[in-house]
Symmetry: C2
Subunit: 455 residues, 2 copies
C-alpha cells in the first residue's frame, strides 16, 4: 500500500501547486474584501450590528481559480422578517452599486456582484445566539468562526484538494443544479478525518444510512433524518448537512473514492477531453428532446423548477409505458432550457398487456373484466391472474409528451416551467435534427455523467 | 336469484337433451362392450385374474357424442413390471386384432382401437388391495366400482352437464394437451356437491390452496400437496387429483363459473363462431412462429415435450430481453407442430440498460464495473445502483430464437422435440407470410383462449 500512498501524496502536491492561491491573488482579494466591507459599513443603520467576512475566503480554503467573497450582514434579531429582507437588499445594492449588483435567492434574497472578476455575495442574517436561528443564513458566521479556529494550514490544503476532486467529478457545490457537497461539508469532512485520503477511505466504505458526526448525537435525532448519508453540522446537531446531497452525488463520490484509492491518478482531477461523438451517434435516435425559452430568474429557483418538471414528465411517460433510461435537464440560466430523455423505444408497441388482479379476488376480477372487456382484444387468465391485451391508439413518444405538456399548460393554475413552456417549445428526437451547440452541450453533459468510472 | 336458478335448470335440460345418450346408442355400446370383453377373455392366461369395464361408459356418465370404453385387464400382483407391460400389450393387440390396434402410453403402455367409431382402450393394471398400488392404473377399477355405487341417475346427468360445460371452454380432459379436469374429477365434484350448479358455486368462490375432500384428511397429507387446488381422491387420500390440473384450466373454470352463475346462457356450452380475423390482423406482426415437422408418437409424450420446449425457448427469449405476452404450442399429432409467441416488440432496442448492484456492495460493484467497463457505452450510478448502458449486437427476435434452437440442436445429447427441429424448421413473423390452414388454426386456438370471458 505504501506505493499507492506515495502516489496519492504526489498527486496531492501537484493539485496544490495549481489550486493553492498565490500570494498576489490573496493580496488582491484582501484589498477587495476591505473595500467592500468599508462600503457596507458606510451604510449607516443601527439595525445592522456587525459585518463579517465568511465563506471559503475567510476560512482560507478557497481555490486559486474559483473564489467568491461572502459578507454576512448581521441584523438585530428583533427585526421583522420582511423588514430584514428589505434591509438586506438595500445594504447589498448600496455596497455594490458600482458593480452592477443583482438579486439572488437562497432561503431569502441576497445581493451579488462582480468586482474585478471576483464574485461578491452580500447576505443578510440575524445576529442570534447559537441554536436560536431565525433565518437559514444565521449559522454561517458560526461556521466561519468555527472553521477559522479549527483548520490549520495542512487541513486547509487538504480541503482544497478534496474540493478539486469533487469539482472534477461534477459533485462540488450545494446549489440545486449540482446538489452536491458544499464547501462547508468539505471542511467538516476533512476536519473530522484529518486528510483528503482519509475522507476518501471513509466514503469508499460507505454503507446506507452512514452517520458522520464529530460529537455523539442523540439517536432520536438521527432517526428523524432521512437521507442516504447523514452529516451532522458541528455547530448544530439538529442539522443534517447530508440532506442537501443528492443520492447521485453521494454515489459518485463513493465510486470515485474507491477507484481513486485503487488506482490513484491525476486524471481524476482533470475534466475529460475524450470525445463523446461516437456515443452520441449510438444513442441519438433514443433521445427525446424538449427545448424551450425561459424567463431569466434565480438559478436555484430555475434549476429546482426544471428538475421537478423533469421528474413529473418522466413519471407520466413511464405511466404511459415508456422505459426511461436516463434523463437530464439543462439550462444556460439566461434564456434557454432543455429536457433530454434517453428512452428504450421511442414508440410503444401497438399492443399493450394490462395485468389484472389475481383471479381469486372476485370483485376486483369482476371489475377488471367489466372495465376492460369492451376495449380489450383478448382477455384470459395467465398464471392465476386475469390479463387483457389492448390496442394502443397512440404509440409515438412525441405525441405522448406533447399531450402531457399541453395538459399542464391548460391546467387552471400553471406555474414555474409550465409558464415558460406556454410560450412555446419544440419536441423532437435526437436523430431528427441537426443539434445546435446548446443542445449538444446538454447531451454532452448527460453523457459525461459518471465518465470517471471508465477512466 | 330464483329466476337465475330457473334459467340454469332450463339450460341443464337443454344440454341433457343433446348429450344424454339415446337408448339405441346405449344398446350399440353394450353390444360392442360384450364383444370386446369376450375377445379379451378368449386370451387365456392365468396371470389375468379379472377383466372389468371401466371409464365413463361403465359409470354411466358418458356423453352421446364422445364415448370410449375402457377395459381394465387385472393382472396378478406378483408379475414383474416388464412382464406386466408385455402381457398388457399382448392381450390388447389380441383382443383388438380386427380393429387396427395401436399402442399408446400413459404411465405404462396400453392398446387402443376403433370399433364402429367407438374408441376402445385396453389397459393393464395390477389386481391389488386398496392403497397397495403397483401401477398408476390400479386405482381405476376402484374408481369405477366406487362411482357405480354412488351415482344415481340425477347425479350422472349432472356429471354430463358439467363435462359439457368444461368441454366447451376447453378444459375437459386430463391428457397433457389439455391438462384439465378428468372425467373422474368431474364425477368426484358432482358427488361431493350434489349438482352442476353447486360445483360452479364452489369454484366461483375459489381461494388459493382450496381443498376438496369427501372425508376429513390429515393436515400433514394436505401440506405436502403443492397445487393451486387440492382434490383428494375418495378412494385414496394420499392422491391429489388437483395435481394434474393446470393453473390456467383452474383459473378458466373459476372465471367461467362466476360468469355463468351471474348470466347463465346456453352460449357457454357452444363453441364460439365469432370470427378472429380482425384480432389476427391486429396482432400478426407481433407473432413469432416456429414451424416444423414431427415424428409421430404418443400424443401425451408429444404434447409434454412440446410444452417443455415452449417454456424453455420462452425463458431464453425473456432472458435475452424480449417480453412474451402469450405463447402456445400446437400439433396435429400426426406430422406438424408449431410454436407461437406473441411478443411486445419483435426487435430489441439497440441500447440495453444493465442494472448492477447497489453501490454500497463494494466487491459486487467493483466486479460489475470491471466486467462491464469495457463494453459499456455509459456507466453511471442511478438511485444508488450502478448501471451500464450497452449496445446490442443482435436485436431481431428471429436471429435470437434461431440461435437458441441451433444451440439446442448442437448440444451433445439432443432429445424430444430437438430431434424434430434438427430435421428442419422455419422461423418467421406472422406478417411475413401467408399463413396456411394449420398455422392459422393454431393461432385461432391461441386467440380463443379465454374467449368465454367476453361472452
Amino acid at each position: 500500500m505504501n506505493r499507492i500512498d506515495d502516489t496519492i501524496d504526489n498527486i496531492t502536491l501537484k493539485i496544490l501547486d495549481s489550486s493553492c492561491p498565490s500570494k498576489s491573488k490573496e493580496n488582491k482579494l484582501d484589498k477587495i474584501s476591505i473595500k467592500i466591507k468599508n462600503e457596507i459599513n458606510n451604510y449607516k443603520d443601527k439595525r445592522i450590528l456587525e459585518v463579517i467576512v465568511g465563506g471559503s475566503f475567510a476560512k482560507g480554503t478557497w481555490l486559486e481559480n474559483d473564489t467568491d467573497i461572502d459578507f454576512f450582514v448581521m441584523i438585530e434579531s428583533t427585526v421583522e422578517r420582511k423588514e430584514f429582507e428589505e434591509l438586506g437588499k438595500s445594504v447589498g445594492f448600496y455596497a455594490l452599486k458600482k458593480y452592477k449588483p443583482y438579486l439572488r435567492y437562497s432561503e431569502h434574497p441576497y445581493v451579488e456582484g462582480q468586482v474585478n472578476r471576483i464574485r461578491i455575495n452580500i447576505v443578510p442574517c440575524y445576529k442570534v445566539e447559537k441554536n436560536r436561528w431565525k433565518s437559514a443564513a444565521d449559522r454561517s458566521p458560526f461556521h466561519t468562526i468555527f472553521m477559522q479556529s479549527k483548520l490549520d494550514d495542512f487541513l486547509k490544503n487538504q480541503v482544497r484538494v478534496l474540493k478539486k476532486f469533487l469539482k472534477s467529478i461534477g459533485i462540488y457545490g450545494s446549489q440545486i443544479s449540482v446538489s452536491g457537497f458544499s464547501g462547508y461539508v468539505t471542511e467538516v469532512l476533512v476536519l473530522k478525518y484529518g486528510s483528503f485520503r482519509n475522507v476518501l477511505q471513509i466514503f469508499a466504505d460507505y454503507k446506507p444510512k452512514y452517520v458522520i458526526s464529530s460529537a455523539s448525537v442523540n439517536p432520536k435525532t438521527i432517526e428523524k433524518f432521512d437521507s442516504p448519508i447523514i452529516i451532522i453540522d458541528p455547530i448544530d446537531s439538529n442539522r443534517n448537512l447530508g440532506a442537501a446531497i443528492s443520492s447521485e452525488c453521494l454515489a459518485k463520490f463513493v465510486l470515485a473514492s474507491r477507484l481513486f484509492l485503487k488506482h490513484p491518478s491525476i486524471e481524476f482531477f482533470k475534466k475529460s477531453s475524450k470525445s463523446t461523438k461516437d456515443i452520441v451517434c449510438s444513442i441519438k435516435s433514443n433521445l427525446l428532446i424538449i427545448e424551450f425559452k425561459i424567463q431569466k430568474r434565480s438559478p436555484d429557483i430555475l434549476w429546482g423548477q426544471l428538475k421537478r418538471k423533469l421528474i413529473s414528465i418522466s413519471k407520466q411517460l413511464q405511466n404511459s409505458g415508456f422505459k426511461i433510461i436516463k434523463k437530464n435537464c439543462f439550462t444556460d440560466e439566461q434564456e434557454r432550457a432543455v429536457f433530454i430523455f434517453m428512452i428504450e423505444f421511442t414508440n410503444l408497441s401497438k399492443i399493450n398487456l394490462k395485468l389484472g388482479p389475481e383471479i381469486f379476488r372476485k370483485s376486483e376480477t369482476n371489475s377488471f373484466i367489466k372495465k376492460r372487456g369492451k376495449t380489450s382484444l383478448l382477455i384470459w387468465p395467465d398464471n392465476m391472474r386475469i390479463v387483457s391485451l389492448e390496442e394502443r391508439k397512440e404509440t409515438a413518444i412525441k405525441a405522448h409528451v406533447t399531450q402531457i405538456i399541453e395538459k399542464d399548460i391548460e391546467s387552471s393554475n400553471p406555474t414555474g416551467v409550465t409558464l415558460d413552456l406556454r410560450d412555446g417549445y419544440s419536441v423532437y428526437l435526437g436523430n431528427e435534427r441537426k443539434l445546435d451547440m446548446f443542445v449538444s452541450s446538454a447531451i454532452d453533459f448527460m453523457i459525461r455523467d459518471g465518465e470517471f468510472i471508465k477512466l
